[in-house]
Amino acid sequence: MNWRARWGRILPHLVIWPPIVVSCGYVLLFSAWTVWVSFTRSTLLPEYSWAGWRNYSTMLATRNWQIAYTNLFIYGTCFLVFTMAMGLLLAVLIDQRIRAENIYRAIFLYPLAVSFVVTGTVWGWLLNPTFGIQKLMHDAGWASFRFEWLIDRDMAIYTIVIAGVWQASGFAMALLLAGLRSVDGDLMKAAQIDGAGPVRTYLRVVFPTIGPIFIAVLVMLLQFAIKTYDLVVALTQEGPGLASTLPTVVVYDFMFQRGELGEGSAAAVMLLGSLAFVLVPYGLYRHWQRRKAEAHV
């Protein structure tokens, strides 16, 4: 009896602590190590001689980083806006109690099961003017059709947005649909009785109720956006030139291709820092929400 009670007390700790320790080890230890390396003169191998902020200033001055960071803003914003919009649209449409709902859900969710490399390669062929959609249109007789974003250095980053949105919309849809379904049916009925049309019901009643889910999806998509790497490698190879590079690609390039571990680590730390753009507003929002909730009570 006694040992069972004791076991019952120990078991939760045994289950909880090892994963926490391992995750902390992985996340914190390696993050700390990277930060450390970013302040050293490391080249091919880590080497612990102090370099101050030199790696950071060198990195910030490279064209690669400037292009990559600008692209991250463009890509991040477009990816978030369009994925959310697409996901929401699909979720609302599927929410209409349609027939064969499961099939549609599976179809829209399916892109997520395809790896980024496959997505990138396929879209690369589709968008290439010499082999893809443009050629198809020309062969079909529409000779003036132009769709050359892939080889246009100002537009190439948007091809990555297209492929990214295609891949992630289903994911946003699934989560938002779950949210829509969790809305209390009585609320909907009350709105209907009050004479609200479907648009108004969604905008005024349903969406505000599932606000927290929007935030959750947004945060998840944002970290998707920040860590995008393979899509660029497979779709545009950073090209044309360097026009569609992203910070993750720059980090890999400097660390492993050029053997500049210090500078690559500095880039990685700055990329980690950009997560703060996400987490700080989110934290503030949660704080504000809690304050509001307390005030109501």
Partner: protein
Amino acid sequence: MSVVSRRSLLAASAATLATPGLTRAQSVKPKVTVISQWSAGSDGLAITTLGKRFEAEGGVWEHNPVPGFTTDMMNKLRAQIIAGDPPAASQLKGPEIAAWSKIGAVVDLDQQVSEAGYEAVVPAELVRLSKPYGHWIALPIQAYRINTLFISKKAADRVGVTSLPATWAEFNAIAEKMKAAGITPVANGGLKWDDGMKWEIALCGINPDAYRKAVMELDDKTLKGADVLAAFRQLRKLADWSDPGAAGQHYSTFMARYMKGDMGMLLMGGWAQGVFKNAGFRFTDYLIGPAPQDDGKIAFDLNSDEFIFWQKPQPEYLAGQKLLAKIVMAKDFGPMYSQITGSLPVRTDTDLTPDGFSDGQREAAKAMAEAVRNNRVVLSLAHNMAQPNQITAAMIDVLTEFVHDNRISPEDGQKRLAAAVDNVRS
């Protein structure tokens, strides 16, 4: 007497005890562990053949290919060096040999090299790379000529071209003719290294001495000089004559259109011949030879793969490294290896008359020997022979942006290149 006998007895027993150890030391089976990126195709076959040869001479061969990019192979090498267990030999090339030899202990091959009389028969540029700090620590295994021009036979027939252009002016005239005939004149891809390579072939063809100064010595005056500017102008032409969808494409994407005669000329290293052969095309489907050379004399833009030998404490590895070095330096190694990969043997005294070689290889090998004699061998930038990776990458970034953005004038491109070199120059 009794004392002596006891002493001799002791000596005898000591000798008996020592003998097994002695015989064991003499009869260790030579062993090597090798890592390279050559896992498949002709490269994989070539290194497997080398392994079989190594085993036939009594060694134990253990090859761990790391398929993919060279960087993946380097990551594995880095991990093994950090773990204190480097491979006995690994693929490495160019100035990276010098750079990596500083982070791990390497084997001094001076004695083997001098016994084989090897130094006198390989190009001086390769000697310089293989003994970066005065000692031989790496051995070249095959060479390629970068400045090679391939013209599609069908495209050539359509515009009435029967021989390769000797100068860039002739090249440009042929390209114009092809363009007028509706042929895409340049069949290159648009990956970073491809873009860098087009520029380097242009510069080498305009003036190999300027190439040596600008690319290999990073001489500021030459980088800002007329020859480099001319190379940028030629690169702009090459870019304009390429397929508009070339950005991000590997050159082999265009192989079918090229062979059909829809595309005209390909500036590519000699390995393209092996690629064509593997794809089922014949030597008669294209013309092959040196890229244009404005001064009419032969110059050779060299790419070469090498093995670097890492120190390991166990005697069997040292024996294995000696055996591997002996095999690689031997005169019959070049034919064995290069007939499979389509490369050139690094020994300039190799006989290329056997049937296993192609005319393209024979011509390129002759060009290499002559360029060596006249000191007109330069090292490839885009294939990491001329500079360490960080400098190469910075230069290639400028070149690839230039190729894919026709708003950058050749003058601006040249300025950007000089600035990029300034930033990374150590």
